[in-house]
Subunit: 144 residues, 2 copies
């Protein structure tokens, strides 16, 4: 069991080390779109629009937090709200053309940075690493 615990310990430490830096790094790379904003905007783009409540549920954020993030994105002209005709309480959120454009730029430059960071990894290792991360995060969603 000793070895297993060592691995678990390392994963814990390295994941938290990553977490500590990700936000700062994202902010440095893209002052115009924070990590959270980027993630929410990407989700809207991916889902072809969704509700604030859905975003909150998906990312385990308080609805007030999402509300403010969306308000900021709207002020920047990156997101637009469309009142749902069937339920006037809900707003369906969509990226604007401008928002989609900025998102594409940020995504490209993020991907480039990651590509450089992972340049000396071979295909198989990359693939396995990606799979492990997905598996890990799926487990986290299940266990909280």
């Amino acid at each position: 069991m000793a070895h297993r615990d060592d691995s678990v310990e390392t994963i814990q430490l390295e994941m938290t080390a990553f977490a500590r830096r990700a936000r700062a790094s994202a902010a440095r790379m893209h002052p115009e779109l924070s990590l959270v904003s980027y993630t929410l905007l990407a989700h809207l783009d991916d889902q072809q629009g969704c509700r604030a409540t859905d975003l909150a549920a998906h990312y385990l954020l308080d609805k007030s937090t999402v509300s403010r993030q969306i308000a900021a994105l709207e002020n920047l002209g990156f997101v637009e709200r469309r009142i749902d005709p069937d339920d006037h309480r809900v707003q369906v959120l969509h990226p604007t053309d401008k928002g989609a454009q900025v998102l594409a730029n940020v995504t490209a430059s993020r991907r480039q940075a990651f590509r450089e960071r992972l340049a000396d990894w071979n295909e198989d290792d990359l693939d396995r690493f990606a799979t492990y991360l997905q598996r890990y995060n799926a487990a986290q969603e299940r266990h909280g």
Copy 2:
């Protein structure tokens, strides 16, 4: 190249997904010791004491941030400062017995949560995952 880019994309998304949740999760699990405090205290424990400047350099934090975190840990009685007799500017930071005790508790419960999350992983996968994370974070440190 398509497959390689897919993996890179997945790693990017999953790592940021993790980053988004880690802090909140840590705060929920251990109100008495934030993710940052925990990390700094763990480092002190691991290193048998070190300077604030070392912590800042190691974790890419501003010295003011570390200064305040350490001040908070000292207020809680988890850390003590020992003026370096050779250089009166520097304070060597050490966990107190109480701090070491709390750290041990938090570490144990964090490890337990991780262990549950990773319960259905076999030894080899755990080991490889841990290695990938270390390699990835080392690369991040080099490339910013």
